[in-house]
């Protein structure tokens, strides 16, 4: 069954909108760091944007490292059946 109906998400312009909205939300969520008293166990947790930067860097590093790992580990789907 095929359908030609156009959905909101099919429009590249709308995908762009979502992408920039995500950027906006991410900027907004860092701003509270300026205004409230963080309850932390370690000094570095209180640094401005620590969790935000950690989340971004961790995720990007994870994906790029995993991509390198694939070079070493990737095999054809029928590898074990041969």
């Amino acid at each position: 069954m095929k359908s030609n109906r156009k959905w909101w998400l099919d429009e590249p312009r709308n995908r762009d909108k979502l992408y920039y909205a995500l950027w906006a939300v991410c900027v907004l969520i860092i701003i509270p760091d300026l205004f409230y008293d963080k309850h932390t166990y370690h000094e570095f947790e209180a640094w401005f944007g620590f969790y935000a930067i950690f989340g971004f860097v961790a995720c990007v590093a994870l994906i790029l490292l995993a991509k390198q790992l694939r070079k070493l580990l990737k095999r054809p789907e029928d590898y074990y059946d041969r």
């Binding site: 095929k2 995500l22 309850h39 995720c59 994870l62 994906i63 095999r75």
Partner: protein, 567 residues
């Protein structure tokens, strides 16, 4: 003490007995009948007297078939809930073998929770292994058969190790009670290893990623709930506070996520993510404080629900499209909007977004870890938390439902599956929004409040920026594409290296062996010929001494007997 039989029947036996009677139940009643079993079981749990105990004497051993405390009760509740939801999900599958296997499996896992001694535990431990393998074999294809075989060998092997461990432990201490054991002797170390195999510790983990994605659509949902969480329960009871578990858990939380990023089969992605979530629980057991053990119990409770929900949604996709491979899917939100929505609830829960269940359970473990000064472990767990967002939070829903549309249009999931997913999603949100009831049934009293400003804001920062990281890599084209391929993992050792090593050895040894045998055989033939010449009907010896050959053989027999005797 006078108690009615029903309240002192060990929980779980009801499901096992119900499973055995299932083939006798008329087909149109079988659905209602199966749903009734976990409901009755749950009511029975509620009616259990506190500190209830049932013991029997067998071969001079005291077996405690029923032992109740807060830890076993919490796992008992969630195992019944999981069984109930999974049965709803599977209502449309009219395969009696699967139904019986699933009920016995769930019942055995529940009964194991209430085993007060190691022998009883061992019996149910093996029963979960033997019953659950039928959920894999029920796929009825060659791949599933072989994966099931490997699964069975490893699971039953874990039981054998448990048994040897308990024998050594009994020999040393004279006790088979299942309470805190600790890594104090060879016996308890073996028991620890047995639990570790079932908990999918690093290097012992591959049975999970190997077997679960080969099970049937509904079978995987059952499998995801019981086996590994039974292992978490036994570790929490026997080895709480064992420091080694902190390091094992941290490793478990971190390494499977790399595989999850590059794995194409979405059910296998979920299996790696299951492994990663177990890591958080194992760290909690290793830390071993009241807060940490509460965290492990709470996280197991929440995890069973959202992991089942994720497996349910991907299972529905597999049922409708015939594949669960990221490279083959995309755009399914158009034809399966409800399934997509439920998948997102599961994804938000496992990612620990505020107002979803993972948030209120994982934070207990995180707090306990940093509280007790394990800074590096805490950082690893924080890294793993960002990783969860990537593979379970974004990757699974994205590639199944929102990836590039390849034009496939299918029907929405069957109604029974939608009901199961809806109920599970409801529970995931309910626990996240109102965690008080969950906190109330934790093993230790707690006044923990996950919804502090600091915690909510920092968690949102971590998660949203991790999502941004994925989005940026996707926009820039750096994100690794889904590819029709598999990735080598530790199971390569026993699926490829060992068979190759053995066949190489055979190839090298065969000519040597054949030559040796030929030599021996020809020598033997010459000996026989010689004997025949001398002792045969026309032989010289036969003519002279008709009983000669007999005597010679007796002499040979006696001589060899003597030699063997002195050896």
């Amino acid at each position: 003490m006078i108690a009615s039989f029903s309240t002192l029947l060990p929980p779980g036996l009801l499901l096992i007995a119900g499973a055995i009677l299932l083939p006798l139940v008329p087909a149109r009643l079988s659905g209602a009948y199966m749903l009734m079993l976990p409901v009755l079981g749950f009511l029975q749990l509620l009616a259990l007297p506190a500190e209830a105990s049932v013991t029997i004497e067998l071969f001079g051993l005291t077996l405690e078939l029923l032992r109740v405390d807060r830890l076993s009760l919490l796992f008992g509740y969630i195992f019944h809930i999981a069984a109930f939801l999974s049965i709803i999900y599977a209502l449309g599958i009219r395969d009696t073998m699967q139904r019986v296997a699933a009920l016995i499996y769930a019942g055995a896992a529940i009964a194991a929770l209430f085993a007060g001694d190691l022998v009883t535990l061992f019996v149910y431990w093996e029963l979960t292994a033997i019953s659950s393998v039928f959920l894999i074999w029920a796929s009825r294809n060659e791949r599933a058969y072989r994966a099931g075989m490997r699964y069975l060998v490893i699971q039953v092997g874990s039981g054998v190790i448990l048994f040897v461990g308990l024998l050594l432990h009994y020999n040393e201490t004279g006790s088979i009670e299942f309470d805190h054991l600790g890594l104090s002797s060879m016996g308890t170390a073996l028991i620890f290893a047995a639990f570790g195999i079932k908990c999918a510790f690093p290097l012992m983990h591959n049975w999970l990623q190997d077997a679960y994605p080969e099970a049937t659509v509904t079978g995987t949902v059952f499998l995801s709930a019981f086996t590994t969480k039974l292992a978490v329960y036994t570790l929490a009871r026997g080895f709480a506070g064992t420091e080694m578990l902190i390091w094992i858990g941290a490793l478990m939380a971190a390494f499977p996520i790399f595989y999850a990023v590059i794995e194409n089969d979405l059910r296998r992605v979920l299996a790696y993510s299951l492994n990663n979530q177990l890591g958080f629980m194992v760290v909690g057991i290793g830390v071993g404080t009241e807060l940490a053990l509460n965290g492990t119990a709470a996280h197991a409770f929440a995890h069973i629900l959202y992991k089942a929900l994720l497996f349910m949604s991907v299972g529905a996709v597999l049922l409708r499209t015939g594949t669960a491979k990221g490279s083959e899917l995309g755009g399914l939100y158009k034809s399966m909007p409800l399934t997509a929505a439920f998948c997102i609830v599961g994804a938000a829960s496992i990612s620990a977004f505020p107002l979803f269940s993972g948030f209120v359970s994982k934070s207990l473990i995180m707090s306990a870890t940093v509280d007790n000064g394990y800074l590096w472990v805490w950082l690893v767990l924080l890294f793993a938390s960002a990783g969860v967002v990537e593979h379970a939070g974004i990757k699974v829903p994205y590639f199944a439902f929102f990836g590039p549309d390849n034009g496939t249009r299918v029907a929405e999931a069957p109604r029974s599956m939608l009901i199961a997913m809806g109920l599970t999603a409801f529970l995931c949100i309910a626990i996240g929004v109102y965690p008080a009831p969950l906190y109330l049934i934790l093993p230790y009293a707690t006044d923990y409040d996950p919804y502090t400003v600091t915690h909510v804001v920092t968690q949102l920062q971590l998660l949203l920026l991790a999502i941004l990281g994925v989005a940026v890599l996707m926009r820039t084209g750096l994100y690794p594409h889904e590819q029709r391929a598999i990735n080598l993992d530790f199971d390569w050792i026993y699926r490829k290296a060992a068979p190759i090593a053995i066949s190489t050895m055979v190839a090298v040894a065969a000519p040597v062996d054949a030559g040796f045998r030929r030599g021996v055989i020809s020598r033997f033939n010459r000996l026989v010929d010689g004997l025949f010449r001398h002792h045969g009907p026309r032989g010289i010896l036969a003519r002279t001494w008709p009983t000669g050959s007999m005597v010679l053989w007796v002499a040979i027999l006696l001589a060899s007997y003597l030699i063997i005797y002195y050896l």
